[in-house]
C-alpha cells in the first residue's frame, strides 16, 4: 500500500516562524493530508519545553530563550545541528506514540552505524547516546493524533552553549556530536540525505517526494 511522505529541505531558518508553521500545518491538516518531514538548521536558540524548569537555563547570555509547546526540558539549537521535524498522522498510521519515538531513535542509531558510531537509545530517557554522551535529542508533541516537533542531531557545531543549560533537565549531561565521534569533517547536507533515507524506511513510508518550495510562515 502506498504511503508517501513529503520531504522539505529548508536550510537554516529562524526558530519561531518555523515552529508556528508546523503548528499551523498540524492544526489545518485533514485525514488525507500527506505526512511531512522538514530537514533544517536553526540559528542559535534555547527552547524550553512545557515541563521545563527555568532553573535549568543557567546563563542564556545573548542567546534567546523561546518557550514552546513540546514535551521535555530545555534544549539548544544552532548551526551545524541537523533538525528534523516529523509531521506524522500517528493515529492514521495505526502506531502508538512510543512506536514513533522508537522508530525515530532507530533511524538515528542506524544512521550513526553508517558512520561507524556505536550509538543506542535508552528505555528511560528519550534521545540517542554514544558512550553515555547525548548525540541526538527528541521532543515531540501530539495534537489531534498527529505529531510535530522532532529530533535534533549534533553534527558539526559549537557545543559550548549546551553548558549554559542543563540539557533536558539533567545537570552535567554531556553532549557529543558526529564530528567529534568520527574525528572527521562532516557535511551536513550528506548527513541530511542519510537521515532522510533512515526516517523514510524506519517510519515505514513507501516513497518520498522532495519539495523545494519553502513553507508558509506565520510571524
Amino acid at each position: 500500500m502506498s504511503r508517501p511522505v513529503i520531504i522539505r529541505h529548508l536550510g537554516c531558518v529562524p526558530y519561531e516562524p518555523t515552529w508556528h508553521a508546523m503548528q499551523s500545518f498540524t492544526e489545518n491538516r485533514d485525514a488525507e493530508t500527506v505526512d511531512e518531514i522538514w530537514l533544517l538548521e536553526h540559528p542559535k536558540v534555547f527552547t524550553q519545553g512545557q515541563a521545563g524548569k527555568a532553573e535549568h537555563v543557567l546563563a542564556a547570555g545573548d542567546i534567546p530563550v523561546v518557550q514552546v509547546d513540546r514535551g521535555g526540558q530545555v534544549t539548544y539549537h544552532g548551526p551545524g545541528q541537523l533538525v528534523a521535524y516529523v509531521l506524522v498522522d500517528v493515529r492514521r498510521a495505526g502506531q502508538g506514540v512510543r512506536d514513533l519515538v522508537s522508530s525515530i531513535e532507530n533511524s538515528l542509531v542506524e544512521l550513526l552505524y553508517q558512520y561507524d558510531i556505536d550509538a543506542y537509545a535508552k528505555p528511560d530517557a528519550p534521545g540517542v547516546y554514544v558512550a553515555e554522551k547525548k548525540i541526538a535529542s527528541l521532543g515531540l508533541r501530539i495534537r489531534r493524533g498527529c505529531s510535530f516537533h522532532g529530533l535534533a542531531l549534533n553534527v558539526d557545531m559549537d557545543l559550548q552553549p549546551f553548558q549554559r543549560i542543563n540539557p533536558c533537565g539533567y545537570a552535567g549531561m554531556q553532549m557529543t556530536q558526529l564530528r567529534d565521534e568520527t574525528q572527521q569533517k562532516i557535511e551536513l547536507s550528506e548527513v541530511s540525505v542519510c537521515l532522510r533515507d533512515a526516517l523514510v524506511s524506519h517510519l515505514k513510508f513507501s516513497e518520498f517526494i522532495t519539495l523545494t518550495d519553502g513553507i508558509e510562515c506565520y510571524e
Partner: protein, 93 residues
C-alpha cells in the same frame, strides 16, 4: 466506539513475496553466512546470490539486504528473534 470514517492503518497482505529485510550488525567474516543460516531455517527460498551487503564507513558495521517471502507477522517476528539471538545482529528492518 468505532468511527466508520476512520482510515485503516496500512496492512501487509500475507503471504508477501519479495519482502525486503535489512539486517544490520557487527561486521565479521561470517556475518552473511550466519544470517543466511538463520534465514534458510525460516525461508528456504532465500537466494544467497541476491544478498546485497554494505559496510559502514570504516567497516565496523555491516548492513545486508535480502528478500524473502513473508508468511505472517509471527513469521517475521520469529526471524527477527532468531537473528538477534546470533549475537551479531543489532537491528532488523
Amino acid at each position: 466506539m468505532t468511527h466508520s470514517t476512520e482510515q485503516q492503518p496500512p496492512k501487509i497482505e500475507f503471504p508477501c513475496e519479495n519482502y525486503s529485510l535489512r539486517i544490520i550488525g557487527d561486521s565479521c567474516d561470517n556475518f552473511v553466512d550466519v544470517v543466511l543460516e538463520v534465514l534458510k531455517r525460516h525461508a528456504p527460498e532465500v537466494d544467497p546470490e541476491t544478498v546485497v551487503c554494505r559496510d559502514s564507513s570504516k567497516g565496523r558495521f555491516v548492513s545486508a539486504q535480502v528478500s524473502i517471502t513473508a508468511k505472517s507477522v509471527e513469521h517475521l517476528e520469529q526471524i527477527n528473534q532468531d537473528l538477534r539471538e546470533t549475537g551479531l545482529v543489532r537491528m532488523v528492518l
